[in-house]
Structure formats: C-alpha cells, structure tokens
Amino acid sequence: MKTIQEIPLKQIDITDETFSVNFMPDLQRLRSSLQTVGLIQPVLLKRRERDYQIVSGFRRVWVWQELERDSISAMVFGGQEKNDLEFFLLSLEENLTTRRFNMVEKAMALQKLHRLFQVDSLEIIKTYLPLFSLEPHEKILNTFLALAEMEEEVKTYILREEVSRFNIRLFGKMGSEDRLTLIPILSHLKLGESRLREMLTLLLEISQRDGQRIKDILRRSDLQSILSQKELTPPQRTERVKKFLFCLRNPRMSEKEEAFKKKVASFHLPEGISIHPPPFFEGRGMKLAFQFRTTEEYRAVVDFLSKLGGKEEFKALIQNF
C-alpha cells in the first residue's frame, strides 16, 4: 500500500498531459466540493528526476492551484514501477470509478491508446471499447479516432449539441477547413439530429458530385445572403438553408417543384386552399386541401373549385398527373 505524501504544487508539471483525458471539464462542482470538504482522494503522481508527472487527478491539481494551495496530497509512484501504458490504464481506471467520460474524452483516451501507447486496434476494440461502454466494433473505434482528430471548435459543438455517432462520422468525412467553416454556420441554425444529418449529407454529396470543397459551397453568395438575413428566426433560417442545399443537390426535382408551384400560383387560390403533387411526383393524382370555418366559407371554396375545374390551364395540369 502506498503512503500518501504532501507534494508542493510547484514541483508538479501541469503542462505534461500524457495521461490526461479531459475536455471541457465541469470544474464548478469539484471546486465547490474542494472548498467545502477539501481533498478526499489523493492524486496519483509519477516521480521524475526533477519533478512530478500527473498520472491521475489533473482536475484536482488545477483547482487546487486555482485555490492557491501550496501542496497537495498524492500517492507517488517511482518512474520504473510501471510502464507508461500501465500508468495510463491506472489513470483511466481511477477516473472511470469517479466520473463519466464525455464523447470527446473517450475519443482522446482511445487515440492515446492507439497512437501514443501503440496498443493494437483489435485489442482496443476487444478490451477498451467495452471499458467505455462502447460496442466492440471497428466502426465505433474509427468513429472515435476520427473525432479525436477534429478541431477544438468541432469537438465543442459535438459535445454541446450531443451530436450522434452517425453525424460524427459525417463530420469525419470532411476536411478540417470545411468543418471550421461549417461550425459557425451550424451554430446559428436550429438543428436536431435528423436535420443535421440531412444537412451534412447534402453538403457531402454536393461536394463529391461537383468536386467542390464544402467551404466553397458555404461561401457562395446566395447562401451567405440567406445567412445574413437578420429578420429570420433560427428555424426559418434553417429551413431556407436546407431548401437551398436541397435545390443545389437536386436541380431537376427542384425545377419541377418550382414549375408546379408557379402553375398553381397562376390559379390565384384563395387562402385555405392548396394543391399538392404526389410525393416526389411519383404516381398519379394530385391532392387538394381546403379549410373552412363557416357554411359561407365552405360554399365559397366549392364555388371557387367548381370554376377552377373549367379552366383550360387547370385541365392541362391535371393531364400531367
């Protein structure tokens, strides 16, 4: 059993993050706990020739330092007692018993195992993914390794918006500059999981089809003008951006939709009456919808529709379906 020692904070190298797995830590709770009851759990340190390297307890050391304490209780390991991978695993185990890792922290830990400590991929999949409550599958490992490579802004967005693994994979298909151009735009939109998926997919597919970088699509003046319309609410802006990308992705369908809308607009339908083509113009028959509140309104609708039925342009539209 190791004894607990008081180690001066200035002898601890807080810049060495070899064993650190922290991203956007919530220090407020820890700070308040440390202020109220003090340090309950000593940190783990590795003794080096001139100083100490933190193995586990980065957050406690940071807060302790912030609270202007001089020393901290620590369990100290000799440099030769374990190899770096063993120290890292010790750190992981210690952390996992006291807190939950967020997505980015899991990604950082897996990346360290893979890159820094050279653990074989199969071993990571089999042993370490379950340690983080992840399914032991190569696809999952690749998703997290891709996340670890992403920029701070993207990681922050992913955590804040609780982006799904599927969408993380879509971000992973983009280049760094593309992601960095995209994140500020996404932050101004109102996107749920499926909307985000839809938007990322549209961007990736337009980019692949046209051989154009996503950042260049996003810098198009017509898109920028939608984004700069201050009078739009976030949901309205989202809808416009989505429509813009849909049209870019599906020009022929959009052209057809536009032509249909124009045709219907030429009938000057009164408020409450609408005509719709079959979904994706597949199949036959259009849909007519109308609303009314009183018998008079109902009669007015019927009267309008009856007259519409006699118009040549309307008959021509029907023939197309």
Binding site: H137, K139, E205, Q208, R252, M253, F280, F281, E282, R284
Partner: protein
C-alpha cells in the same frame, strides 16, 4: 485457376457426404476446410467482423438447404414485374458490385453453396409438373450470379439438359465469362444466357471483380454460336455525366458482335435500392458515386431516380435499341405503369399481363 479467391471452406457436417460437396472439395484442393456444427454461431461470428460482406465473399460455406428453393421473384409492390421464378442454388456472389442489394438483404454473409442438389432438381420437377403456364421463366441469378461458381461446381451441366426436356425457360444471368461448360450442351433453346451490361467506366468504378464489357459480349457471342437464346439486362442503368453516349456505345459494341435476332429479351432498370443499402454500400465503397444522382423514395419504399430522369434514360435507350432492330423485345424491370406509358406509349395492365407478352415472345422465339 479461379477468377476470384476462396480463402477457406466452411463445411457443414450435415453436408459432408453429399456428392456436390465432394465435387467442390476436389475443385479446391488447396483451400483449407473447417467443419461446422454450429451454423448460427459461424454466421453470428462473421457478422461481428468489420466487413462481414467482404469477408463472406472470400469464404465458401457448403451446407444443405431445407426450405423451398424455388420461389416467385419477390419483385416489388405497386409496380409491374415480369412474373419470374427464382431458383436458389447459391446465395451471395464472389464479385462485389457497389450497388448490389444482397449487401443489405442476406443475413448470411458467406458465399453459400447448397449441396442437396438432387432435392432441388426434384423440387423444380414437382413445380413444373403442376405449373400450367406454357413457358414459365426460372432463373438462378437473383441471389447470386448464375455462372460465377461454375469453376467449383458445373451447375449448368445439370440444369441445362434438365430444362431442355421441359416446357419452361431457364435463365442464367451473369456478369462473368464462365460459359465454357455451356457450349457443348444440348439446350433445345430452353436456356437463355443473359448478361448484365453497363458502360466500361461504370464496370470499372462500380462492379468490382466482374468481367470487362468486351469479354462479356465475347462470351455472349460464343453462346450465340452454340445456339442459345441471349438476354441482356441494362440493369441497373446508372445516371452519370455522359451516360447517353456511353450507353449508346455499349449498344453499338453489343450489336457489332451479336445478332439482334438471337436476342430474346432486353430489360431496362434504373438504379434503385432499398433504403438500408446506402449506408452499407457507402461504408464498403467510400469512393462510389452511385448515390449522387437525384434519388427519391417510390411507392414501394425503394429509392429510385427522379421520374423525369428515369423516363429520359429509358426513352433514349429504347430509341437506340429499336434503331438496331425494331423487333427487339424490350421491357422495364420494376417500373410503374405511368413510366411504361411514357416510354412505350402503352403499359401492361399488371404483372400477369406482362407475363403473357413473355410467353408469346418465347413461343415465337422457340418456334422459329
């Protein structure tokens, strides 16, 4: 020498003594064999791999099939289908097309050969003895390629003479050149050998491991010389920049080697897929461009090119084909009556109605 690689044979203990099994083992003397008692465990284990589909293509599983192996082609709902029957001799395929629906369809990823062959012939015999249609069409090319495994087991040497004695048509659909076994067989015109065709660029990009276009056509020419009726399937037709010219070049190349009078049918089918395929295929083929067209869900839930695009592709192809020979029998696969009407100016009322046209075509062809 196999045109594809088999790394291992998994042999179901129950199939060990079947003569088909012995034949396959003799064809692959170098390939290690592993006995399998727990089929479910084998499949479950394979499914947990990073790319079970790719893995499955390199591993042959020999087992027995206990269910019905002859079924009506499932076709698709609310569209006109051709009333075909599917014979299940093999499931999966050693070739690897990015658009292959089997990737999302089969729950057993292995290239699987069913060794209880005698049962199958008996099942076909029973089916045909009660089938009152004059010329039912049956094919082995739905859940696999009909000829890809000929080097392992000569399916055609049993099926072709069998059908030669029946009033039914066997269609062997392929993207290979494995026709050597067919050439000397007495087929009596009851076997149609057919090829799926696409422009060379699409074959290179989207049909990994398949034969080159010119080699497919050369194989077709050899079958033509052996008197077989020929079929061609432009399915899936892929919409890409330059598609018109490249499909036209395929037609020109085809009929520079093939006599249109020896062609019993040609089908056209725009690229379509069940929704689950996209994710699987994009993961397995990150470079594929096949999903970049304007694709939308249809009435049967499958995703297809926008109607205007399909119409344009079919109209152009029908025109090109009819210019070669107006008597070519061209049909659409899994299409709506609206599209039929727009392309041909008429539409079969339903799938049975289309089937009648096939029967007439076959009678005319065989009686010639």
């Amino acid at each position: 020498m196999l045109p594809f690689q088999i790394e291992r044979i998994y042999l179901d203990f129950q199939a060990e003594n079947d003569w088909v099994t012995q034949h396959v083992l003799q064809s692959l003397p170098e390939v290690p064999v592993k006995g399998v008692g727990d089929k479910r465990g084998l499949i479950k284990n394979a499914l947990s791999m990073a790319d079970p589909i790719g893995e499955g293509k390199r591993n042959l599983f020999i087992t027995r099939f206990y269910g019905k192996r002859l079924k009506p082609c499932p076709g698709t709902s609310r569209h006109i289908c051709c009333g075909y029957f599917v014979i299940n001799t093999v499931t999966n395929c050693p070739m690897d097309c990015s658009y292959c629906v089997l990737q999302g369809y089969l729950n057993n990823p292995f290239l699987t050969l069913y060794s209880n062959w005698d049962d199958l012939l008996q099942e076909i015999e029973s089916f045909l003895s009660v089938d009152c249609r004059p010329f039912s069409r049956l094919g082995t090319g739905e859940l696999s390629d009909s000829l890809a495994l000929e080097p392992l087991f000569p399916f055609s040497q049993y099926l072709v003479p069998f059908f030669a004695q029946k009033n039914a048509i066997l269609e062997l659909k392929t993207k290979t050149t494995e026709v050597q076994n067919l050439l000397s067989l007495d087929h009596r015109g009851r076997t149609v050998v057919s090829w799926s065709l696409n422009p060379p660029r699409m074959i290179e990009e989207e049909e990994k491991g398949t034969a080159l276009l010119r080699d497919r056509i050369e194989a077709a020419r050899r079958c033509q010389e052996a008197g077989y009726p020929l079929g061609f399937h432009f399915d899936p037709m892929i919409y890409f920049e330059g598609w018109e010219k490249e499909y036209e070049e395929v037609v020109q190349l085809l009929f520079s080697r093939i006599d249109p009078k020896r062609v019993i049918w040609i089908s056209l089918g725009g690229f379509r897929y069940p929704p689950q395929l996209k994710g699987i295929a994009e993961e397995r083929f990150p470079q594929t461009r096949i999903f970049l067209g304007e694709l939308f869900p249809g009435k049967d839930g499958k995703i297809r090119y926008f109607k205007e695009i399909r119409k344009e592709m079919y109209q152009k192809m029908v025109k090109t084909l009819k210019e070669v020979n107006p008597d070519l029998f061209v049909y659409l696969c899994m299409e709506s009556p609206e599209i039929w009407k727009e392309v041909f100016g008429w539409s079969p009322q339903n799938s049975s109605h289309l089937n009648e046209f096939f029967e007439e075509r076959i009678k005319k062809f065989i009686g010639r």
